[in-house]
Amino acid sequence: MSTTTATTTREITFTAAAREALSEAMAADPRIFVVGEGIGARGGNFNTTTGLYELYGPMRLRDTPIVERGFVGMCTGAAMTGSRPVVDFMFVDFILDAMGELINQVAKMQYMSSGRLKMPMVLRGCIGISGASATHHSGSYYPLFVNIPGFKVVLPSNAYDAKGLLTTALKGDDPVLFLEHKLVLNNKGHVPEESYSIPFGQAAVVREGTQATVVALSSMVKKVSDACDSLAKEGISIELIDPRTVAPLDVDTVLQSVHKTGRLLIVDEAFGPCGVGAEISAQVTARGFDDLDAPIQRLNGVHTPTPYSPPLEAAVVPDVKQIVQAIRDLLAE
């Protein structure tokens, strides 16, 4: 508990919060280094490393050629030999060129070596649809990493969580995907100056409610929250859960909530088929079937490559209006 009001009421952006976590960890542990395109003197396309080059120098903030596979593979070997790499992909879409290294090497390394090698690697990148970025700069590929054993997958939705979750990622010995939605980067929130960590696999109950449970991921937490606000005016009471990490996935918290509300909707910008909503639905069905008063529903981004033109782009992302409607439909069942 902090004693200075100045500290506890400080509001900073998501990006600043995550950067603070990174800088704290780098100050404490000289084995941490960051690689990426333009993350050195430039400070990162999304300001993920602004100011750090001056503090930690070129060996620890390492600009790279455009070789996503190459630097992921390099960082794999680095992690195997005792350093702790952070890979900054800028847009997470670029991670796809490194999937072979990630799935066949990074995710399997501890297992193949029967735990004698560790794999402390943080893989971060911006996800999500916004600003007519079009289909090569709008992806949210986390379901792929949830499917594969060996990754932890973090989807912070606010500044406070960003710092705490990134701290956990940087202290651990496992590969962690830290995925930052473009639309939350500039959102400000209360962030303590002192270091703190948030454990993986513990969902946050963002708001309590009684009539239905809504699980929202990443940028959708804010949108669902807005939808809940508007429904609250009609006296509709919704419980909103932010899993914060989707691997591990805290289904227990969802089950407890559904036990109370009897209804569940999962709202996720990422694709529906074999997505996180499917997994939550399947687990809740299997384990909480008797608590369900209505079929579990999912609201996802449209299952299509992301179009460029603003009216098309808007049509593929769940918006507050659609969320409100989906909740109404769920309550009506």
């Binding site: 395109e37 070789v67 190459g70 600003g131 079009a134 090569h136 700069h137 179009p307 460029y308 098309l312």
Partner: protein
């Protein structure tokens, strides 16, 4: 310096016109971006026009061009009208990708513009594939990849050039070495900045040319296209050039390169220097180039109006074309 007397007046005027069309379109796009008319990213080709122009002068609409994030110039040189490029960046349904793509996803298969890619690298491989089709179906067409110095460090370069070489495919690999990948200098990103030299690893000819000299590019490309069409396999062309604007519109452009460096390259502008050489050598008359200037001005102005007045795509169509219609 290239020998400009080898070409006739019509060729010179065509090359000049093409470069200018790219320049004026890019300038319009930059302005439009500032004016908020372009919702997404916009990477201009200003300063590098000679390369697309010199290469595409040898291509038909059946030849297949593949490009990258900095692709407006390639699309225009390949024959996509400025209005379709501008409309695309404006997100309109009349754009060459019908508004689905934007700056980094320009498609016009009708003229052999097979796409630009927001991902660095794939165009190299895809051009190789176009060469494969050409050889498989014996069409005589060539595949061309345009890409940056940054892409030349990527594995796609190594794998693509090698594949084209071993299968003797009709492909031209055009590396636009503008010395930077975003803000990362090529001299930081490799210990051998002579991209053309890398061709040796693949047993392929590699040619470095002054990428700001359209006739030098034209001649190197002529040779490469001839080789390709004759069944003698691929060529790597490195055009040494420079982008004089920021990496992408709206991005700061300081710190990583000096004003001196920028100015020295601006002094070697591919369009103004060419214009001056042509006039000086008496190969074209001033009135003739002025007429071209005016025609291009009008073309781009009309293109802008066209784009502005074009409708947006219908959101109801958003899920179309994921799969072929036949199968959907």
């Amino acid at each position: 310096m290239s020998n400009i007397t080898a070409l006739g007046k019509e060729q010179h005027l065509a090359l000049y016109r093409q470069m200018l069309e790219i320049r004026r379109t890019e300038e319009q796009l930059a302005k439009s971006h500032q004016a908020g008319l372009i919702p997404g990213a916009c990477h201009t080709y200003v300063g590098e026009e000679a390369i697309a122009t010199g290469v595409c002068a040898h291509l038909t609409h059946q030849d297949a061009v593949f490009s990258t994030h900095r692709g407006h110039g390639h699309a225009l040189a390949k024959g996509v009208p400025p209005r379709e490029v501008i409309a695309e960046l404006f997100g309109r349904v009349t754009g060459c990708s019908r508004g689905r793509g934007g700056s980094m996803h320009l498609f016009s298969p009708e003229v052999g513009m097979m796409g630009t890619s927001g991902i660095v690298g794939p165009c190299i491989l895809q051009a190789t594939g176009a060469g494969y089709t050409s050889k498989l179906l014996n069409t005589g067409n060539v595949g061309v990849a345009f890409f940056g110095d940054g892409a030349s460090n990527n594995g796609a370069f190594h794998e693509g050039l090698n594949l084209a070489a071993i299968y003797d495919l009709p492909v031209i690999f055009v590396c636009e070495n503008n010395m930077y990948a975003t803000e990362v200098a090529f001299s930081y990103a490799t210990r051998n900045t002579e991209v053309a030299e890398r061709a040796r690893s693949y047993g392929m000819p590699g040619v470095a040319v002054d990428g700001n000299d359209v006739v030098a590019v034209y001649e190197a490309a002529a040779e490469a296209v001839k080789r390709a069409r004759a069944g003698h396999g691929p060529t790597l062309i490195e055009g040494k050039t420079y982008r004089t604007r920021a990496h992408v519109e709206g991005m700061r452009d300081g710190g990583y390169r000096t004003q001196e460096e920028i100015d020295s390259w601006k002094a070697r502008d591919p369009i103004t220097t060419y214009r001056a050489r042509l006039l000086e050598a008496g190969l074209v008359a001033e009135a003739e180039v002025n007429a071209v200037d005016e025609a291009v001005r009008v073309l781009v102005e009309e293109a802008l109006e066209f784009a502005k007045n074009s409708p947006y795509p219908d959101p109801a169509t958003v899920s179309r074309y994921i799969f072929s219609e036949a199968s959907a």
